[in-house]
Structure formats: structure tokens, C-alpha cells
């Protein structure tokens, strides 16, 4: 690890180089490559929701100020539309960085928003993020799968599959 010679004079925080290495290892390109063009923010679908804008998230990660990002609500507000990943001229992909930050927050057992928790529960119970529902058609009427001749979906996940998934995600 290189010596850290930077201090944030407002919070007296020091960059966390180890965490930076861990969280950016799977990105196509390191946030070090960011030129701060802010194209990610200019086209961001969730712009109005975000306290920290995508380019600011990358800038903080670049300097190694990741602790405040892991604890930030911003990382949960991203809609994961992946426009920023497609359009980043340096192939950094802020959305992927946000995913890495979410994973870190989860593995630390930090509070996650209620919406995500309910999706998670459905997943555990049914094996799906969203259970099959009746959908409206052009004629204005709603149809279920069986009415249009689609086979029934098996709802409960197998014990084996659930265990495999848990293992993949690294525990509870």
C-alpha cells in the first residue's frame, strides 16, 4: 500500500486505499482513469434523486474516500439503467462502481432501503424478484399466464438452488 499523504480537512478522513483496491478490482477500468467529463451525470436517469452525482461518486472513489460512499443513501438510488456504463468515454461505468459499493454495504450488515429488502424476501420465498402477475393487454383486459396458454411457473426455489445462491453471494 502506498503511504497516504492526503487528508480531507473538513472531516479529517483519510483515503482507504485497501478498500479502493477491493471495490474497483472488478471494474472494466479503474476510477483513476476518470477525466471528470460528467457525461454520466449529464444523462443520469435518477439525477433528481441523487445526493451525490455519478461523477462525484467516481471522483470520491478515485481519491479513496470510499467509507462515506458505502454509508451513503446515494448508492441505493441508482436505477441501474446502465446509460453511464455505455456512455463513459473512459469505460469506468459508475453504475458498476455503485453495485460494488452496495455489495460492500450489505456485507457490512448496514441498513438497506425497505424496497430492496422486500424484493429480497420475495426472492427467498419464490426464487424470483417479482412473482408472475396478471398483465394488461391492448384490449384493456388483464390476462394471467394460464389464460394465454403459458405453462405455470414453479414458485418455490429448491433448497439446493437457494443454498448455492447464498454461497455465491458470500453468506447471509
Amino acid at each position: 500500500m502506498r503511504p497516504v499523504s492526503i487528508t480531507d480537512l473538513m472531516s479529517m478522513a483519510r483515503p482507504n486505499e485497501e478498500l479502493k483496491e477491493k471495490l474497483t478490482a472488478f471494474l472494466a477500468n479503474s476510477p483513476d482513469m476518470c477525466l471528470q467529463c460528467a457525461r454520466c451525470t449529464s444523462g443520469c436517469t435518477a439525477f433528481e434523486l441523487l445526493e451525490l452525482k455519478p461523477h462525484e461518486v467516481v471522483a470520491l472513489a478515485r481519491l479513496g474516500f470510499l467509507e462515506e460512499l458505502v454509508a451513503s443513501s446515494t448508492i441505493w438510488d441508482c436505477a441501474l439503467c446502465l446509460k453511464c456504463v455505455e456512455r463513459c468515454p473512459q469505460r469506468i461505468g459508475p453504475a458498476e462502481l455503485l453495485l460494488a459499493l452496495r455489495n460492500e454495504a450489505c456485507s457490512r450488515g448496514l441498513e438497506i432501503p425497505e424496497g430492496f429488502r422486500s424484493v429480497l424476501m420475495t426472492l427467498m420465498e419464490t426464487g424470483m424478484a417479482f412473482p408472475p402477475r396478471r398483465r394488461p393487454a391492448r384490449d384493456g383486459r388483464s390476462y394471467g399466464r394460464e389464460e394465454v396458454g403459458l405453462p405455470e411457473v414453479r414458485m418455490a426455489p429448491s433448497e439446493v438452488a437457494l443454498m448455492a445462491l447464498m454461497e455465491l453471494l458470500g453468506g447471509a
Binding site: R2, P3, I6, D8, M10, D32, M33, E56, A59, L63
Partner: protein, 514 residues
């Protein structure tokens, strides 16, 4: 037909390139250099961007080529005294300063430099190392001849010592040598005086820092060089330890209304280059940080170079530090506002490198007034046309090469110098000149031969002659630059600029005011 010789003023890469290109066309060249060796700033560099070529490895072959060229006469350790317009060109007086060493005998063995007891801070090493009172500025100096510094030599200042004289195996030391004056006749002059570096004394945020650990980029360049004062080792000047963190400050005095309002063009690329070289020398553990206003690594291969620096973990912070404080252990504390994160950062550095701005070289204004060529508002010499005649001046026979016309990198400098050489050589080989139509004309009926026009003419283009028993002014159209001084001075209105007469101006004014 002009005098068939060219004077090149300045022996840096611009002057060397221009001299070689003129000489290759069969024209005699005098290459004038005020220091003991040619080479200029390029000789001080360790590596060049973006290819990281060893600077001296690509420069020294050219230095040797120019010194050995049959058409080139090297005039090193010489000062320009005076330039006069002679009818077919210029008459140049040059002061050949005494080296106190017979150049025809000196073999450059270096024994004198080893034994000389006087140590002087080396100009070439930017004050980081020492040279002796008898010295060659650097090991690859051309000509490879020793020079005695008369201000520091014990014999020349106090009448004692003479060790070099006793030890010189070639008996080359000659304390009786005197400064000599040489007169040259040339048809064209190429100005290639290069650039200077800004002093930071006038900038309160950088000046007056009581620390040796704040150095300029040129000092770092000398430290990086394997022939430099530290043999390529990177150290903190205060204690000789290897720095673990280095902060670069770009735009020091550049883009600054208090110093140089213009961009130095090469500072960003220099910072990126030096940061990469430091990464190589100090290893992956060193924290290297570049604080910048804008990163202007323009040009071929330079954006990729900047990318490489980011890949190699060089920190880039958009925000210029303001407070620099020296800590008790000799390291430095800087505060910088990072615009990307909106954080006020404190940076701790063992070494701070100032990428200082580029200025016109010392004495350029005096040279310009001697040559009667215009100077731009930035203090650099002004070209005849900013797009189409970049290496010519408005004065026929005087050409510009390299950074004396404005900041340039090495590639731009050599291209500019080759262009100046081509222009000078083609002017001489043509044997005639194409003048501008806007020259002074004399209405002989009105002229009473008072000679005031002759007095004010900067270019010696007007002369009062006897014609049919009376005195009358005569204009040499080849020398006249159409400046209009004579027309203003003439008491009878007898002398006017062709197509710019008072009547024409009044008529234009009348239409404009209609």
C-alpha cells in the same frame, strides 16, 4: 546579391537545427552561443515526452554534426555586440570572450577540472550541484574544451594558484588570453535564442518559501539525469533522503495575470513525464500527485501519455494549492481544493515540484531593438504573419526559430527552425528580394534636402544626396520598411508612403465619416 552567409543566434536545439539545415544547402553559417557549449535547455533534460527518448542521446549526434560541418563555424562563449545594416546585408560585431584555454591545444581530458580547488554552484545543474572554476558545463559539451570562469578562478581574482596551468598535459592554459572582437558579414540572421524560466519570487503563494525541498521542474530534470548532480538518484535536497511523496504544481506563474498571462504549452506534458519517471525510480509505493488547473497534454501521443500516467496510479487533482507550509521534519504541507469532490484536501509531500512558466530569454528585448524587429505583448518576438509566415519577421533577412517566437516543445521547435533555415537559404540563393509596395517616395520638387528623414530612419533607407547641384532625399526601396517615420517628420510633406499619402488617408476618413 546578398552576402552568402547566415548568422544563427543561439546554440540550443533551434539554432543547431537551423544551422544544420542552412549549411546542408551549401551556405556558410556562423552559430553564435553565449555559454561555453552548444546544447541549450534540451541538453539539461533527462527524457523527452511522450516517447521518453533520452534527450542527450538524440541531441548529441546533432551537436557533433553541427560542430563538424564544413560550412558551420561555431562561435561559443561569444556575445553579440552590435548589428549594423550594410548595403548587402548585415555587419555583425561579436565579442569572443577569453576562455583562458587555447582551444587548439585543449584535448578535453578533464585533469584541470579534477584538480581545480574552487567549487562554484553549477548553472547547468540549476544550482543543485557544483562545477569547478575551470569547467565544461556538462560531460558531452561541444566543443569539448575547458573554460576558466574569470569571476571565480583564484589566479584571475587573487593572483594565486595556477594549478591547472602546471598540470595541463597539452599546455593549453593561457592566462594571457584577451577578449577578442570579430566582425562578420552576413546576408541573413536567424534568431534562435530560446526561452527563460520564470522566477517565482513575485508570487506570494510560492515565493519566500524557506525550504530546499521546493524545486523547479528543471531542477528535477537535472536530478533525474544520470549525468546530473545526484547521478539520477531522486533525493530531498534538505537531507538527501528519497522522497516517498511528491506533489507537482502546474501553471506556476502561467495563465496568471500577475506573471505570464499565457500558457507555457509544455508544462502539463512535463509534469506527466516527470511523474512517470518518478514512478519508475521511486517504485509503486511512492505517492505522486499532480495538482492542475487544466490538463493540456495536447498533441500526438500525449493524450495516451496522460492515460498511462493515470493507469500507473499518479493522482490528478483539479485545484491549485495555495498555502504551502514547511513542517519541522522538512516535509511540506499544502492545502488544495479538489473541484471534483468539493473537498478541501491537505497534502503532505516530501518534495514539491513547481512547473514554472516560460518567459522570453534574458536580453531578448535588447536584441529585438538592435535588430529592429517587433516584440509581441507577451515579450516574445513577433512573426510576420501568425498563420502563413510563422518563421519570418517583417524585416527582410531576419528569421525566427524556436521558442524565441513563443513557447514550443522540441518537435515544434525543430520544425520551426527548419522552416526558418529554408526561408533564409532560399532568400540567399535567389539573389534578389521581393519587396512590399508600401515604401517611402520623395516628391523631389518639394524636398529641400534638410535631412530630417535621414535622421529618423531606423533602417538607413533614406539618404540625402546631391543631384544636379542641389540636395535631395533618396529612398533605397530594398531597405525601406514603410514605417512612415520620415513622412511624419518631413516639414514640407515631400516624403510619403506610397498608397498611404495624407490625401488618401483624409479621403478615406471623409468616406468613413459620411
Amino acid at each position: 546579391m546578398s552576402e552568402a552567409a547566415v548568422l544563427v543566434i543561439g546554440g540550443g536545439i533551434a539554432g543547431i537545427q537551423a544551422a544544420l539545415d542552412v549549411a546542408d544547402q551549401g551556405v556558410k553559417v556562423y552559430l553564435l552561443e553565449r555559454t561555453p557549449s552548444i546544447g541549450g535547455h534540451m541538453a539539461m533534460l533527462d527524457k523527452t515526452f511522450p516517447t521518453l527518448d533520452c534527450s542527450l542521446c538524440i541531441l548529441t549526434p546533432k551537436m557533433v554534426d553541427v560542430a563538424r560541418h564544413p560550412n558551420v563555424e561555431l562561435l561559443t562563449y561569444c556575445e553579440l555586440l552590435d548589428i549594423k545594416r550594410a548595403d548587402k546585408g548585415f555587419e555583425v560585431r561579436v565579442l569572443k570572450k577569453a576562455r583562458y584555454v587555447d582551444e587548439s591545444k585543449c584535448t578535453g581530458c578533464g585533469i584541470c577540472m579534477e584538480k581545480c580547488p574552487v567549487r562554484v554552484p553549477s548553472e547547468f545543474d540549476q544550482g543543485l550541484g557544483y562545477r569547478k572554476a575551470i569547467y565544461m558545463p556538462f560531460p558531452q559539451a561541444v566543443p569539448r574544451k575547458a573554460t576558466i570562469d574569470p569571476d571565480h578562478c583564484l589566479y584571475l581574482t587573487r593572483g594565486k594558484c595556477r594549478i591547472c596551468e602546471q598540470l595541463c598535459p597539452a599546455k593549453a592554459i593561457d592566462f594571457k588570453q584577451k577578449d577578442q572582437e570579430i566582425t562578420l558579414k552576413v546576408g541573413a540572421i536567424i534568431v534562435a535564442t530560446g526561452f527563460g524560466l520564470l522566477g517565482v519570487e513575485g508570487l506570494p503563494e510560492y515565493g519566500f518559501l524557506p525550504s530546499e525541498n521546493v524545486i523547479t521542474h528543471l531542477q528535477l530534470e537535472r536530478m533525474l539525469s544520470s549525468t546530473g548532480p545526484t547521478r539520477g538518484r531522486i533525493v530531498r535536497p534538505s537531507d538527501g533522503r528519497e522522497p516517498r511523496s511528491v506533489v507537482f504544481l502546474t501553471c506556476v506563474g502561467s495563465r496568471d495575470e500577475r506573471a505570464n498571462p499565457y500558457c507555457c504549452r509544455i508544462g502539463c506534458s512535463i509534469a506527466v513525464k516527470q511523474a512517470l519517471l518518478l514512478r519508475e525510480r521511486l517504485g509503486p509505493k511512492a505517492d505522486i500527485c499532480i495538482c492542475f488547473m487544466d490538463m493540456r497534454t495536447y498533441g500526438r501521443g500525449l493524450e495516451e501519455f496522460y492515460s498511462r500516467a493515470r493507469e500507473e496510479g499518479i493522482r490528478f487533482i483539479r485545484g491549485s494549492p495555495s498555502d504551502i507550509r514547511v513542517l519541522p521534519d522538512g516535509s511540506l504541507r499544502l492545502t488544495a481544493f479538489d473541484q471534483a469532490t468539493g473537498k478541501l484536501l491537505e497534502l503532505r509531500a516530501d518534495l514539491v515540484v513547481l512547473v514554472v512558466g516560460i518567459t522570453p530569454p534574458e536580453g531578448l528585448r535588447e536584441l529585438a531593438s538592435l535588430l529592429k524587429i517587433p516584440v509581441g505583448p507577451d515579450g516574445f518576438l513577433l512573426e510576420a504573419h501568425p498563420k502563413l509566415r510563422p518563421s519570418e519577421t517583417p524585416i527582410t533577412g531576419i528569421f525566427l526559430a524556436g521558442a524565441c517566437q513563443g513557447p514550443k516543445d522540441i518537435a515544434e521547435t525543430t520544425a520551426h527552425a527548419s522552416a526558418a533555415a529554408m526561408k533564409a537559404a532560399s532568400m540567399l540563393s535567389k539573389g534578389y528580394m521581393v519587396g512590399e509596395p508600401f515604401v517611402a517616395v520623395v516628391d523631389e520638387a518639394r524636398c529641400r534636402g534638410c535631412g530630417r528623414c535621414e535622421e529618423v530612419c531606423e533602417f538607413k533607407a533614406v539618404e540625402v544626396v546631391e543631384d544636379g547641384g542641389r540636395l535631395v532625399a533618396q529612398v533605397n526601396e530594398a531597405l525601406c520598411r514603410g514605417c512612415g517615420s520620415c513622412a511624419v517628420r518631413c516639414p514640407t510633406g515631400a516624403i510619403n508612403i506610397r498608397n498611404f499619402t495624407g490625401q488618401q488617408m483624409l479621403a478615406q476618413a471623409a468616406v468613413a465619416a459620411r
